[in-house]
Amino acid sequence: MATTETMTINMGPQHPSTHGVLQLVLELDGETILKAVPHIGFLHRGTEKLSENRTYHQVLPLTDRLDYLAPMHNNLGYVLAVEKLLGITDQIPERAQTVRVIMAELTRIKSHLVWLACHALDIGAMTVFLYCFREREHVMDMYEKISGARMTSNYFRVGGLSADLPDGIEKEMRDFIAAMPGHVDTYEGLLTGNKIWQKRIMGNGVISKEAAIDIGLSGPSLRGSGVDWDLRRDNPYCGYDSYDFEVPVSDGCDTWARYRLRLKEMRESCKIIAQALDRLEPGPILADVPKVCLPPKKDVVNTIEGLIHHFKIISDGFKPEAGEIYQGVENPKGEVGYYLVSDGSAKPYRMKIRPASFVNLQALPQMCEGSLIADLIAVIGTLDIVLGEIDR
């Protein structure tokens, strides 16, 4: 009688298709996965511990480095959380809100482009990768013009924005969103009707609606399992409730469904940016809360109040009253939330980040067990994980 043994192998932490330093210990029977155990933490930088020792303004650059493919969303979640803690949410100027929405949606496009590029490359469709990175480069250029950095943007501030949009950027954005749906058509032309692509992802990584809720999936991964939930629409922030957009939902529950709806999300993001650009009016970009928001440089050098406020904010920081709040935002990957506890001092007493990828990765074993090892690569791609956010 022939006997078979199972084999245990390591995949990662330095494997090109694990999207960073993810280690998976796989127990295999031939090519079939019996058990997959993710090991994480290789990129742990102690963001939460560090934040307890910095003032609220100083924490902001740490948040860029969580999900580095969507830095502005992390910034946004954090500044909204601090604004909520301070109780100044309704004092944010209209222009700052609108620019935040524009940047958030540009970031969503940017993040989804990396997802599509890497997902397709992992499965073997290399052309898409090159096209996606071409478009992503446009977004990066705009990012650089607006915030001064390609990835670690650090552009939003508690109370508004760090700087106004540069001249001529609006036209560039309009050109970009006018061309983007055509680019999405190109990707679809390369993939959607492609028999190999279909065979690889249809019926792959299936997770039912109940299981997805139980394991805590959020964002497109949850909507791909038929749960109609989007924080932008259901718990609106930054005035998202005044925009007209659709939340794509699919009850396919597989990688194909998630692929289709992420592409739709990119088209919806273009619509949101177009509406936001239409309503962009000149105006202040920072709330009029002098004890929290840094004064403009000309006030710092010309007025005594400006100088004192600048000095106090930089040296002491501001002190929210004691309390605790939670603020979640719809990151391209799912819900990113910040739980802030204040003890009345200038530093967060506790900051807990709810990372979308961390929770989504938890679903990986149940989505790939029983399938082939090649399907695991597609599951990692469809979960759209970023290790910077998982490990914090």
Binding site: G41, K49, G328, K352, Q362
Partner: protein, 160 residues
């Protein structure tokens, strides 16, 4: 059904277990006894529709009693409402019953809470460290754990 109704129902059903209810910036926080957390979680999920556990974490209130709090951020996918439930954990008995049976997502969150805060969870299926190396000593997010890590001089600030 609003969060207020949920809190009323919770008080009616678990009168002895609800310790306090606070409102801050429109968010409701309920502190309950840790012995009842599984029963209360099950009740909130099944009867009140809080079927989504957004997050779970520990907070260290060093010098206060109880020293730790375990915080559960709940979400209702039907009504899109949030509720925060907290349990106090004393320093000499840092154990709470696991809620992995109620929300599967609690598994990794509780591992992280054990890893970084040193709160262990009874009956957890797989309570290992998750972010720190397996042989790490201590729990970094505790307030008495040095920022620079063990065995190093404290950070003096930037000298230049």
């Amino acid at each position: 059904m609003s969060v207020q109704t949920t809190v009323e129902n919770l008080k009616a059903k678990f009168a002895a277990a609800v310790e306090s209810v606070t409102e801050f910036r429109g968010e409701t926080t309920v502190v309950v006894k840790k012995e009842e957390i599984v029963a209360i979680s099950t009740f909130l999920r099944d009867e009140e529709g809080f079927n989504f556990l957004t997050d779970l974490c520990g907070v260290d209130y060093l010098g206060q009693s109880p020293r730790f709090m375990v915080v559960y951020q709940l979400y209702n996918l039907e009504t899109k409402e949030r509720l925060r439930v907290k349990v106090g954990v004393a320093e000499d008995d840092t154990r709470v019953d696991t809620v992995t049976g109620v929300w599967g997502t609690a598994n990794w969150h509780e591992r992280e809470c054990w890893d970084l805060m040193g709160i262990s969870f009874n009956n957890h299926p797989d309570l290992r460290r998750i972010l720190m190396p397996a042989d790490w000593e201590g729990h970094p997010l505790r307030k008495d754990y040095p920022l620079q890590g063990p065995g190093r001089d404290p950070y003096q600030g930037r000298l230049s």
